[in-house]
Each structure stands twice: as C-alpha cells, then as structure tokens.
C-alpha cells in the first residue's frame, strides 16, 4: 500500500511504501518509484497524504514524470 507525502508547501512530492518503511520522491530513475507507478496502474492502493484512498489514483500516477 502506498501513501503520498506532502512538502511543507502542501505539494505532493513523494511516496511512502508502508510494508517496508520506504519513501521516495518522484524520480524516474528510482526503481522504487518505477515499481510504484506500475503497481498503482495495476490496481495497488494509493492513499492521499491525509490517508484517504484515492479513487482517481490511475489518473494521478499517469500525470507524474
């Protein structure tokens, strides 16, 4: 399960992977980030920074770099 992380400016800037306490920014060369995009597009759960399950997760992930 994934959860978005906001910066102090309130922007979504990173992702937290809850099963192994791992976080990463939206960096296309990062393999964790690559896996995150694949898994969410395949149906994995993504929560917003407040913990709400995102119903438009696919569209959000598709808009990321």
């Amino acid at each position: 399960m994934y959860k978005l992380i906001k910066s102090m400016d309130g922007l979504n800037v990173a992702v937290f992977r809850q099963n192994d306490n791992t976080s990463f920014v939206f960096a296309p060369d990062n393999t964790d980030y690559q896996t995150f995009k694949k898994e969410v597009l395949a149906g994995a759960e993504l929560q917003d920074a407040d913990g709400n399950v995102m119903t438009q997760a696919n569209q959000f992930v598709a808009s990321l770099p």
Binding site: I5, S7, M8, V13, A14, F16, D20, N21, T22, S23, F24, V25, A27, D29, N30, T31, D32, Y33
Partner: protein, 373 residues
C-alpha cells in the same frame, strides 16, 4: 645500450657479461573487474545474517525469484573455508525440494550500470569480448547455468559450466564474444547488463548455451536446479567480469574503494559494533508543532535520487527542548544523487525554530538510502 621492451618478458637490459630481465607484470587497472563486490566482502544489509529471495542480499547481489522462500542467502553460509586468497563467499541454501515450473526462475544476479559497461560497445560491430571467472562450490554436481541478459530482457547469452566434485571449490571461466545486435543501454545511470547465476530455471526461460538469442533466457537448457534439492548448497566468490578472452587474476580492490562502489547503490547507517544504547545521527530543525526537517549531503554521489528506509519507528527518538519524543513518521521529501531532505513527523509538542537531533535507540536500528538498479 639497447633496452628491449617486450610484452611477454618485460624489460630486458644488458649487463656486464649477460643481461637482466625484469618480470612482466599485469598492471593494476581500475575497474578491470566490472563486477562490484565480487569477493563478497561487503554486506551492509545483513552483516552476515541470512536473507530471503526476491531481495538484495550481499551488496550489489540480488536474489531474483518467481517463488518466495525457496532458498536463503547468507555471507559465508555453512562456514566452509573459502578458496585460497578469499575471505568471504555468498552462500545459497535451498529451503525445500521445489519442482521448478516452466515459467519459474531462481537467480543470484548482479545488475551493471550503463556507465560501467558502455565502453564495451555491445550491440555494435565493435562489441568487445569479455571473460567471466569465478570460484564455485556446491553440494550438487553436474552442468550448471547462467546468462548474460540485456536490460530490456529481450537479448541474452545463456552459458553453462560443470561442477565435477561435490563440496569442493572449483574455478570456472566463461568467455563471451560481445554481441553486435540487441539493445544495450549506453553511458547512462540506467541498467545495462544483467548477469545471472541460475539456481533453477524453467524451460520457458532456458536456452541453448553458448550463443546469443533474441529471447529472455536466464540459464542454459538442462542446468542443475539447486532449489530442487532440500538443503542443497551453492557457494560463489571471486566473481570477475573483464574485457578480453582470457581470465586474469582477481582484481582485489581496497576495502574502502569496494565499499564506496557499493554505496553508490546502497548506504546504510547502523551501529557497526552491534551494541545497544542511543546515539545521534541527524540534526533537525522544527518547522511547526509536528514536523522537523533536515537537509543532508550524500557523498559519494548515488546512482540516482535515493529511497529512504528505516528499521522501525520504535528504533528512533528525538531530543528537543529537553525532552525525548518518538516519531510517527520518517520520510524523504526531496532528494537527488547527492542530497536528501528528511521530514520527521511527530504527534505534536514541537516548537518552531528549535533544533533537535534524531537518535537510534538499539542495536538493530538502521536508516538506509537506496538507489539500486
């Protein structure tokens, strides 16, 4: 006075009543060995403990598998004497007698970055020949397999080697003529070559040894399945992959050099002496009542923006304003290859503008940065 410089004999110079010849030596060349941690010395994640499949094990060595819990990997598993000149090895132990399915695979593999492979010109008419050499020992005998695979996973060269005697270190070499075709990543920080040692590969992913194929083959057809025998062992060390058609002596690098090469991909902060007790690792500044931030320089540069991982929140405390607090979150909010901004989240009670420091609280605590391929 003639002086002869000879590629075989070295330097020959005349002396009174004869001549003297200096021995030819193979010069030490940086990165002769394209494999990192080939002597299996660095083990940041496990410090000698056992790890499962599907994860990185000893530094730079990954255990790829389609099924979980079929084997374990541990530095110096079984505590046998390594080959002469080596102090460590990567040890695989089969956890069951698993019958490998057609689409199963079980590997020990290393992924090589494009920057460390591009000069070999693979995928062109100028592709260079390489030679793989390694020491291997298994409780099983027979024909074992492995493969060279491009990053896209659609071009590969299965190879085979024979282990003749059980529980005996044997030295193996495999020479591969570089491919003129296939897609190979150039001088970038992306993945280029995947080198596999098979522990069991199904028929779908096994191919004819000794030739390039426009397929994903992770091993040679008919190779031994280590995971097929409960308790079977597969130990390997001294893995070297070098340009040329001849295997040369293993390129020992200084420990600090090897560690720095590993830390381009993974860097762990942990208590090296294994003892308990608290110790500070990173200074933070409180932004508001619940969030503290810290900017950190990473040196040497990592391959890309690293992920941040930690053992457990209960392994950390925060000292600020004369009290100790336990975090509710530790996350990366910004990073590049040489920096990372960390946000530590608290349930409340911080004062904006105050400084504090994050401490590890036990022997098993760790914080890590990863940019593995």
């Amino acid at each position: 006075m003639p002086i002869t410089l000879d590629g075989s004999n070295g330097i020959t110079t005349p002396m009174y009543n004869g001549s003297i010849t200096a021995n030819a030596v193979t010069p030490s060349v940086n990165m002769k060995n394209r494999i990192i941690n080939g002597a299996m010395v660095i083990d940041q994640r496990n410090a000698g403990a056992s790890s499962g499949s599907g994860v990185y094990t000893l530094d730079r060595w990954q255990a790829l598998a389609t099924q979980s819990s079929k084997y374990t990997v541990q530095q110096n598993a079984g505590s046998v004497t390594p080959p002469a000149g080596f102090t460590n090895y990567l040890g695989v132990t089969s956890s069951s007698a698993y019958s490998v399915g057609a689409t199963d695979y079980f590997y020990i593999n290393q992924n090589i970055e494009g920057y460390n492979w591009a000069d070999l010109n693979w995928g062109s008419a100028n592709a260079k020949t390489v030679t793989l050499s390694f020491w291997v020992r298994s409780s099983l005998t027979g024909t074992f397999g492995g493969s060279f695979v491009n990053w896209a996973g659609n071009y590969s060269y299965p190879f085979s080697y024979t282990i003749s005697a059980a529980n005996t270190w044997e030295y193996k070499t495999v020479t591969v003529v570089g491919p003129s075709a296939g897609t190979w990543v150039g001088a970038t920080n992306g993945g280029s070559l995947q080198l596999y040692f098979s522990l069991g590969t199904g028929t779908t992913y096994s191919g004819t040894a000794g030739s390039w194929s426009a397929n994903y083959y992770g091993s040679a057809t008919g190779a031994v399945s280590v995971v097929g025998t409960n308790g079977a062992t597969f130990y390997i060390t001294g893995v070297q992959l070098e340009v040329g058609s001849t295997a040369t002596s293993f390129d020992y690098r200084p420990y600090g050099t090897e560690l720095a090469l590993c830390q381009r991909y993974y860097k762990r902060i942990s208590r090296v002496d294994g003892s308990g007790g608290d110790y500070g690792i990173i200074n933070f500044c409180d932004w508001n009542g619940t969030d503290s931030y810290s900017g950190n320089i990473i040196s040497p540069n990592m391959r890309t923006s690293p992920s941040l991982s930690y053992s457990a929140l209960s392994d950390f405390t925060y000292l600020e304003g004369g009290s100790t607090k336990t975090p509710t979150g530790i996350v990366s909010v910004g990073s590049g290859p040489n920096y990372i901004e960390i946000n530590v989240v608290w349930s409340g009670g911080l004062t904006a503008g105050r400084a504090g420091w994050l401490r590890m609280t036990g022997a098993s605590a760790w914080l890590a940065f990863s940019s593995e391929l």
